[in-house]
């Protein structure tokens, strides 16, 4: 920690929220995290920065304040850095984003985009919510109320699954390690 001479305050490390919608359009989520209620909740929780990746939607009009910095952009080739630096991630229910956030062991709130047809994203988010790996919000319409409940969310500690499971399965299936190709793991097809 260093002392800023001009204001004589202590410069704290950023505690930030990263909001992401991936390659989708999800203006209701962006609006929902930039309301005065949402921003105040974030400040009360000790966050001093929000980064918004707004995808195909409209650029949000929110501006930075002295104690709450806001950064917005539409796309980036990799969101990993912003995810790594975040203390809380709020995202749409896209599989890629969810996987990445959980792999990084981040506190994750997922909001379902109820405007999407055939919303099978809910399946994934629900399954993970049940396993207490993330906190799911069923619709952007209930987002404002959800912030308070998010405070009580305690994620279960978890570790990454075996990243060699698929290579091992594939090698075995193709007969690399045994001499019986096509028969794998006791489950012969056809």
């Amino acid at each position: 920690m260093t002392t800023d001479d001009t204001t004589k305050s202590v410069v704290r490390k950023d505690r930030s929220v990263f909001v992401t919608v991936g390659t989708t359009l999800f203006d209701k989520l962006i609006e929902g995290v930039t309301t005065p209620t949402a921003v105040q909740w974030m400040k009360d929780q000790g966050y001093n920065k929000m980064t918004i990746q707004y995808g195909k939607g409209q650029k949000p009009t929110i501006v930075s304040e002295e104690l709450f910095q806001v950064e917005t952009y539409d796309f980036a080739s990799s969101l990993e850095q912003d995810m790594i630096q975040a203390d809380l991630i709020i995202s749409h229910a896209g599989a890629g984003t969810v996987m990445e956030a959980l792999r990084l062991q981040k506190r994750l709130m997922v909001v379902i985009n109820t405007d999407l047809m055939n919303n099978h994203q809910t399946e994934l988010a629900s399954a993970m919510h049940e396993r207490k790996l993330l906190y799911m919000v069923e619709s952007p319409n209930v987002l404002q109320e959800s912030f308070g409940e998010l405070e009580h969310f305690v994620p279960l500690p978890h570790q990454e699954g075996d990243e060699f499971a698929f290579p091992i399965l594939l090698d075995s299936f193709l007969g690399f390690d045994q001499n019986t190709s096509g028969e794998c793991c006791g489950k012969k097809r056809e």
Binding site: T23, S77, S78, E80, A95, M99, L102, R103, Q105, H120, Q121, E123, L124, S126, A127, M128, R131, L133, L156, P157, H158, Q159, E160, G161, D162, E163, F164, A165, F166, P167, L169, L170, D171, F173, L174, F176, G182, C184, C185, K187, R189
Partner: protein, 166 residues
């Protein structure tokens, strides 16, 4: 897809060839930006762009023509140009012509590729449309959740994408 293949042995699975939908603008960038090692040289990896069967909002009649074109392209790609030993697909519509071409060549007794379908991580208790269509014609069908493996016992479960509870 990249998470799936990143730990494949590059000496066993070579050459690797990528097939991307023609109007897909992000996948190639994501390959180049992928933060871990990949089992191929990302600057020189052969990449083929397959026309989509149908773009969003396209009319019914022209869709028939473009679907035929994409199947013709897939036939050529699988049967003549690449003749792969292994085809790995993970679900978008783009993979349908490829997987079906491979199946066709196999039942005709020509080059028999092994087709591996990995169902979307999003599918917890039901198969995607592509999964349902390709379930009977693939050699290995991988699912990511126990619920699906229970429903379809001939599938293989891989849970590396789900963080385990410790």
């Amino acid at each position: 897809m990249l998470h799936l293949i990143r730990n494949l042995d590059a000496t066993r699975y070579a050459p690797m060839i990528l097939v991307v939908a023609k109007t897909d603008t992000t996948s190639v960038r994501r390959v180049k930006a992928y933060p871990h090692n990949l089992p191929f040289d990302r600057d020189t990896v052969p990449t083929y762009f397959i026309p989509r069967s149908r773009e969003v909002g396209q009319s019914y009649w022209t869709s028939i023509l473009t679907t035929l074109y994409s199947f013709w392209f897939a036939f050529w790609l699988v049967g003549a140009q690449i003749q792969p030993d292994v085809i790995l697909v993970n679900g978008p519509g783009t993979c349908l012509p490829i997987a079906l071409s491979a199946f066709f060549f196999r039942i005709m007794g020509w080059k028999a590729s092994k087709t591996i379908f990995v169902e979307s991580f999003c599918r917890v208790s039901s198969l995607s449309l592509t999964g349902k269509l390709l379930f009977p014609v693939t050699d290995l069908f991988v699912v990511c959740w126990e619920e699906l493996e229970r429903k379809f016992p001939s599938t293989h479960l891989v849970t590396s994408f789900i963080p385990k509870r410790s």
